[in-house]
């Protein structure tokens, strides 16, 4: 067994202080990445600084937008009804991340700091405009999540810096988001491809988008979208993020521009998918070949956009089991 000293600070300040004085130290939260790397002998730290007992790192606050601590577990996020309803892309990711045993200890901070190109929460955080609050020996700062990821395993964190928490703005009722994790198995698998989208509709023309009649609640979403064409629903803001298509999780900004200010239609979503595919730089890997990933981006971007729309139109359905999109 690799020998290391295990430290359990009770406060953020103590943790940052320990990091400054200890030789060859690493933070550990849920340990589902760190412990695996240690057991694989790919990581041989002399000191581990545990974040598990720092109360200020574990909270979920939905008073104004969404704020949560870095050491919040995927399970805690997954079980939160307000997050499921208003920030659905995030719970789409946490509900299919690893197994329940993993989700019960693994943290969202650990997921982004580990910065795997396949990290499941990365794309949802990108489309939800998350801001990462960090603190280090030189003080505190905020980093937009888009600037946080820099490459495989690389983040904007300077040595000794610790992620305190994340915050996401409030988008209002006219917003829907989704994350689709494309895998070979339904559980315990890393994505071949991950796609997240968010749509915020402009409410200026006062169109009624909520499902009113029973017909609407059972109709297929593509039929509903076709009918809604007359309502001229305009997209105020659109976000598309893709994982496992580049060295870091990335936004498809050209495809976002295709959507912004336009009237919702299935054709528009298709075009956005095609543009997003042209922005990606996928590689061949054991999980999938580059050409396949490119083809699937087109499909999944469209599907995620439709799913986001569905969540605006039928928000109450979002908390019920998956329908087929």
């Amino acid at each position: 067994m690799n020998r290391y000293d295990y430290h359990q600070p009770g406060t953020i300040e103590e943790a940052v202080g320990l990091m400054a004085i200890l030789d060859d130290a690493k933070y550990i939260a849920g340990g589902t990445d760190v412990m695996v790397l240690i057991r694989q002998k790919k990581l041989k730290p002399k000191n581990l600084i545990s974040l598990r007992n720092i109360k200020d790192l574990v909270y979920i606050d939905t008073a104004k937008g969404l704020r949560f601590g870095a050491a919040t577990t995927h399970s805690a996020i997954d079980n939160h009804d307000i997050i499921r309803r208003n920030y659905s892309a995030l719970t789409d990711a946490t509900s299919h991340l690893g197994s329940l045993q993993i989700r019960n200890v693994a943290t969202i901070g650990g997921n982004i700091c580990n910065a795997a190109p396949s990290a499941d929460t990365a794309c949802p955080l990108l489309v939800l405009d998350a801001v990462v609050s960090v603190v280090g020996p030189k003080g505190a700062r905020d980093i937009a999540v888009d600037d946080f990821f820099q490459g495989p395993g690389k983040t904007a964190l300077a040595h000794g810096e610790l992620v305190k928490g994340l915050s996401i703005p409030s988008f209002g009722e006219n917003t829907g988001s989704a994350y689709i994790k494309h895998t070979r198995r339904q559980a315990m698998d890393l994505p071949i491809l991950g796609v997240a989208t968010r749509i915020t509709l402009s409410m200026k023309n006062g169109a009624e988008v909520r499902c009113r009649d029973m017909f609407c609640t059972i109709d297929s979403i593509s039929n509903i979208l076709a009918k809604l064409k007359e309502e001229e629903l305009k997209i105020d803001e659109a976000r598309i993020a893709m994982g496992v298509v580049a060295p870091r999780p990335m936004r498809a900004k050209k495809a976002e521009a295709v959507l912004t200010g336009k009237v919702v239609s299935p054709e528009l979503f298709e075009e956005a998918g095609n543009v997003a595919a042209s922005e990606a730089q996928p590689r061949d890997s054991i999980r999938g070949e580059a050409w396949y990933r490119s083809e699937m981006i087109k499909v999944l971007v469209k599907r995620a956009l439709i799913k986001s729309m569905d969540r605006i139109i039928r928000p109450d359905e979002a908390i019920y089991p998956e329908r087929l999109w």
Partner: protein, 155 residues
């Protein structure tokens, strides 16, 4: 470095010296010689090492032993009642034929117990989700799910 920690194990208070780099699985199997909890992959993939901490199923192979401090841990050894009667889940696994080689069984039962303790009428989907992190290489999943259902119904 060794440090003394205290926690509750299967309802009893325990105090003992733990080394920094021990995992909870190592502590259970090699130090306390409670070998009901199995080591399969050692990387959190197979669920054979599943135990319950503060009501939640976790992989003990990735859990630093030091973090047990102050927590309540239940292992498969804690399921039998004081007078030797099997837990309803154990009986259900036997009655439904949900045990083949038996290696995954302790982990399966611990995942199922965590589920039923929190939700006594789970749907089939919820059962599948709860044991998705427990691999059975004899592939007896149907009977395992049946057993969990019958334990839930028989409560």
């Amino acid at each position: 470095m060794k440090r003394e920690i205290g926690f509750t194990l299967n309802g009893e208070a325990v105090r003992l010296e733990v080394e920094d780099q021990w995992t909870l699985l190592y502590l259970l199997r090699e130090v306390l010689e409670m070998t009901g909890t199995k080591e399969g992959c050692g990387y959190g993939e197979c669920g054979a090492c599943t135990v319950i901490i503060d009501g939640k199923a976790i992989n003990s192979c990735l859990y630093p032993a030091m973090e047990a401090e102050g927590r309540a841990i239940t292992t498969i050894e804690g399921l039998v009642s004081k007078d030797g009667e099997l837990h309803p889940l154990q009986t259900a696994f036997i009655n439904e034929g949900a045990v083949q080689c038996g290696f995954c069984t302790p982990g399966m039962i611990m995942s199922a117990k965590a589920l039923l303790d929190a939700n006594d009428k789970p749907t089939e989907e919820e059962i599948k989700d709860a044991v998705a992190g427990n691999l059975c290489r004899c592939t007896g999943y149907v009977k395992i799910i049946d057993a969990i259902k019958s334990a839930a119904g028989g409560r």
